[in-house]
Symmetry: C2
Subunit: 316 residues, 2 copies
């Protein structure tokens, strides 16, 4: 098992978390949320989405959010951009990184975005051009890279073929996303290792949903395969896909990712008590309970028993 | 990352799960629970504990349970035995494996069992003698091997020194337990690799609690280090330690362990739908909700969308 010295955590709660809330979050609360996360040590944050407000009303204030943030030196402020127009809007307000989205699943792409995968490849090409022209970094998020609720398992050949196209277009930084939250550690390891061994020059991150409870194990497998950037969402907010049974398809909570890496001695630059506090502050701000182990106090520091009564006899 | 071809799952719910319930479970329900688990493919089950009924009243029917089970060929029926007397009781009703318990933490040992660790080493020696004399296999469960809520982190040197004593006494099969549920994958990997590289002849399993949410990641790390036996508890029942804040300190749910290994292509001999059904049956029998992802239907088969409406636009 390869354990990295350091990894980067990207916070996606302000975008992937908030877009899934069914009520409007005031712009000042969004900004307060982002600033609180940066205060806790987050150095990379997906702050909003420059999508059309009719499509995702929750992100209608993208310009106001990006302009209202207290920009800190050394912090990367990212935004999802669905197309050229979104990319231009994002660049106009000094977004540091444009996140271009594409999914491997043809069925999901057509149902969710009403466009085929090859059509979205052209879209990514346009976003890359906006990035190139403006000197803005572009990350490409490759969603439904493991399992699609419409198509089932996604063959690694298809992911590799799509990467090949995107790299030919100039793509250099990628995320693979377990969008349905149904990936397993062997699959994650296999795919990440395959992509990184064919294209060692790319930067590959992973975006983890946690439908099946394997997100932390998947993070471990990805790290072993060479991945060094992990996306999480504070309080486990959000999720990208509507699933049956009213399931929570949350992102892996940032604070639980930080907890695991921190315990393992992997440097994230984020202090565990600070991110725990940030989770509580964000929870209060949004009126939600942090759906995380750290948020419920399940850390070593908080489970030490000091002067408590003898527990009843319960063999280990 | 080393992925095993096959692993063994030991079910501990009938012992570690039920001993923590605050109400009496009728003997016939305990037996029905064990038989249902074996029906689902479980080939190793810790069925009860031969502890004094005044200490753990829930296990007062240990003989009746062990005698009432429908013994199936190829299935190993295990029981926890706290001492020589317990071991003799277990052997008298044809228990296949005696599980001798010891904890690394001196403070926990004194508070929980009112005996020091060295005193319990003599206890294990007595149990090993009963096993040897009767031709019954003895597994040694080494609890609080990672983090103790009284002592804090447990140094690997101490675990190794205890193993050395126990191996000198004739111990051959061991479990290390993350009793407080606060282990991380790097620690698990380091300890298991150290023990297996010094004593490659031993059989080393892991007993996983999930207080910090890292249990599946810990299972993955243990597998990478060479561990091939994993203990889980159906529905995530149980937990060994009383923690502050009213925390659930459950075991890792057997069905979630089976899910991860099954998705990874690691053979367990246990069919995923069958163990999911068993979790629901046990949940009904005991009147509890399965605290697991599989129990809530978070499997690929159950999250496929067939003919459902187009989901709203939510970028991945």
């Amino acid at each position: 098992m390869r354990i990295a010295d350091r990894v980067t955590i990207t916070e996606v709660g302000p975008r992937d978390g908030l877009q899934n809330l069914d009520r409007w979050i005031p712009t000042e609360d969004k900004i307060a949320m982002i600033d609180a996360l940066v205060d806790a040590g987050i150095a990379s944050v997906e702050a909003t989405s420059f999508v059309h407000p009719k499509v995702v009303p929750q992100m209608a204030d993208a310009e106001e959010v990006m302009s209202g943030i207290d920009r800190r030196p050394g912090v990367t402020y990212k935004a999802l951009v669905p197309n050229r127009r979104g990319a231009e809007r994002a660049v106009a307000v000094r977004t540091n990184v444009l996140v271009a989205l594409i999914t491997v699943s043809e069925a999901y792409s057509r149902k969710n975005q009403n466009r085929g995968v090859q059509d979205l490849v052209h879209n990514v090409a346009e976003i890359l051009r906006v990035g190139h022209a403006s000197g803005t970094r572009v990350d490409i998020a490759v969603g439904m890279a493991f399992f699609c609720p419409y198509e089932g398992p996604i063959a690694e050949d298809r992911v590799e073929a799509l990467f090949s196209q995107l790299i030919d277009l100039g793509g250099e930084r990628f995320y693979v996303a377990t969008t349905s939250g149904m990936a397993d550690p062997a699959h994650v390891h296999r795919l990440c290792e395959r992509l990184l061994s064919r294209w060692p020059q790319i930067e590959l991150g992973i975006h983890l949903h946690n439908t099946n409870g394997m997100a932390l194990a998947n993070a471990l497998a990805a790290m072993d395969a060479g991945v060094r950037t992990f996306e999480g969402s504070i309080c486990g907010l959000g999720g990208g896909v509507v699933m049956p049974h009213g399931m929570a398809v949350g992102n892996v909570p940032t604070e639980d990712l930080v907890h695991m890496f921190s315990e393992m001695g992997v440097y994230t630059g984020i202090d565990l008590p600070s991110i725990g506090d940030a989770a509580r502050r964000v929870g209060e701000l949004l009126g939600v309970e942090p759906a995380s182990y750290v948020g419920r106090g399940h850390t070593k520091a908080q489970t030490m028993l000091k002067g408590q009564a003898t527990p009843p006899y319960h063999p280990a």
